[in-house]
């Protein structure tokens, strides 16, 4: 190959030599114009960032630009005249036949992603575009091939897929871990609680029964703490996963209140429910059970032995619950802080807790697209509320 014949080198496009041989001597203007085109063409090929290679129909390489040298490591002198198969990894030989077959039929191959091999044996991911090259009579005499190095892109794709896979595995592992941790924490508590009950049933002396009863309460506290911590881990790691279904908020509130009636009565804070109509929506029942349980247990805990009023209401497309206690109340400065993780309205040791309940409740209500907050009434006490869209 000679560098002073760039047009032929770069693809045996319409060869000026061939033209000259077919026609009467061309005019100097035409020769000058063709030279001009050839120079421009040469400049493009030489400066291209993509490897531009031409080959004959038998696969012999006929031209090789500087980008091809950079990509594959062979100089033009080394490789022109050699078969194109030199660039093929053994497992891609079929590629070559299929590409050459299409070229012989006059077809183009566009952005074909494959692998080629460099002089040093390194495999390179490339995108190939191959066009047939015809002579002046329209006969296909070879092919011009543009090869773009897509190793970087391929590596990035592989890396992205790897990261995605890792992230998915991480989420899956986290869920499995939380589920197993919950199971493993609750299982021994279960045996402990049942055996304490069995023991309590066998004891006749009152003081001993009282001790066992207290031990049972501690088991419940441990179970509640385990549940809280697992909830927080789950919420902090990836949000609240919901299983929404049609349900009546009034029914739920009555169920939770019935469950807590004994604690409420012991604290001297009877729960009074006002729920004039059913409040039906599509919500996660377990999640809302936790929210209502939290608001009621706070009202009992901080209610100073005064009655607790629970109002279940509906307005336009919202369903809501208000829990009004007459206890120690919430200081205006603490109004938002109490919904933060590990924050508590009172630091007093006489009120146990991790400071997680309201944070969890707010996460659950937010996951429903609702709002949970507190009003500070003029009278003593607090009024916690939440509103949920009904659909």
């Amino acid at each position: 190959m000679s560098m002073d014949d760039p047009v032929q080198e770069a693809g045996e496009l319409e060869s000026p030599d061939r033209r000259r041989s077919l026609a009467s001597p061309p005019s100097p203007i035409l020769v000058s114009a063709l030279d001009d085109i050839a120079r421009r063409f040469e400049a493009i090929v030489e400066s291209s960032d993509d490897a531009i290679i031409s080959k004959a129909l038998d696969g012999t390489i006929t031209s090789w630009n500087p980008a091809a040298e950079r990509l594959f490591g062979y100089t033009a002198d080394e490789i022109v005249g050699k078969p194109i198969s030199i660039l093929m990894p053994a497992e891609r030989y079929d590629d070559m036949e299929s590409i050459l077959g299409r070229i012989r039929r006059g077809e183009r191959v566009d952005h074909y992603e494959t692998v080629r091999v460099s002089k040093t044996g390194r495999k390179i991911s490339v995108s190939l575009s191959v066009s047939p090259v015809k002579d002046a009579s329209g006969r296909i005499v070879g092919a011009a091939k543009i090869a773009r190095d897509i190793s970087g892109r391929k590596e990035a794709e592989v890396e992205r897929e790897r990261l995605l896979r890792e992230a998915q595995q991480g989420v899956q592992l986290r869920d499995i871990f939380l589920s197993v941790a919950g199971h493993e924490l609750r299982t021994p508590l279960n045996a402990l609680k049942l055996q304490l009950y069995n023991l309590e049933q066998r004891l006749t002396a009152l003081p001993e029964r009282g001790m066992v009863e207290k031990a049972q309460k501690e088991v419940d506290r441990l179970a509640a703490l385990a549940n809280r911590l697992l909830d927080v881990a789950r919420l902090a790691a990836g949000g609240f996963s919901m299983a929404p279904a049609s349900m009546d908020l009034v029914e739920l509130v009555r169920e939770v209140a019935a469950r807590m009636q004994e604690d409420a009565a012991n604290a001297g804070s009877p729960i009074r429910i006002s729920a004039p109509v059913a409040v039906v929506g599509t919500w996660d029942r377990d999640g809302l059970d936790q929210v209502v349980t939290n608001l009621l247990s706070n009202a009992i805990k901080f209610g100073r032995g005064q009655p607790i009023d629970v109002m279940v209401e509906t307005r336009s497309d919202l369903g809501g619950v208000r829990v009004r206690d007459r206890g120690i109340g919430v200081a205006p400065a603490d109004r938002e802080r109490i919904f933060e993780r590990f924050e508590r309205g009172v630091s007093d040791r006489s009120f146990a807790g991790l400071g997680l309940g309201l944070w969890i409740a707010r996460q659950i209500v937010s996951a429903h697209g609702g709002r949970l907050g507190v009003e500070i009434p003029d009278e003593p006490g607090a009024e916690f509320f939440f509103w949920l869209p009904t659909n």
Partner: protein, 123 residues
């Protein structure tokens, strides 16, 4: 009439057996779903099944599927008892309305069992 407890946690099963027997119930126990099916097929007269969910060999879901396939067993009611969390959702998947989250509340559980099985001896 007997209560069948299917649970792989031996300490829980021991405690449940004592609790149920003290309340006047006759109790059989199985350590996984497959053993549970064997018990059910060996003898008649089960009034309720207390079914754990996460168990080796055959878990609660698989057990329930097999139970429902067998017309002789399909009608025995199931109370789901699970330590997994989201008990309601799991019970629903299993096809039972009655469920308890571990640690179990003894009095409530006894009441629920009593709805299917009257105690045979005075508690």
């Amino acid at each position: 009439m007997r209560v069948l407890v299917i649970d792989d946690d031996a300490p829980s099963v021991d405690a449940l057996r004592v609790m149920l027997e003290s309340a006047g119930h006759r109790v059989d126990c199985a350590g996984n779903g497959r053993e549970g099916l064997s018990r059910l097929r060996e003898a008649n007269g089960y009034c309720v099944i207390l079914l754990d969910v996460m168990m080796p060999v055959m878990n609660g879901y698989e057990f329930r599927e097999e139970q429902l396939k067998d017309p002789k067993l399909a009608l025995i009611p199931v109370i789901v008892v699970t330590a997994d969390g989201r008990a309601r959702e799991k019970a629903k998947q299993i096809g039972s309305d009655v469920f308890f989250q571990k640690p179990l509340a003894p009095r409530e559980l006894l009441r629920a069992i009593g709805r299917y099985c009257p105690p045979e001896s005075p508690a």
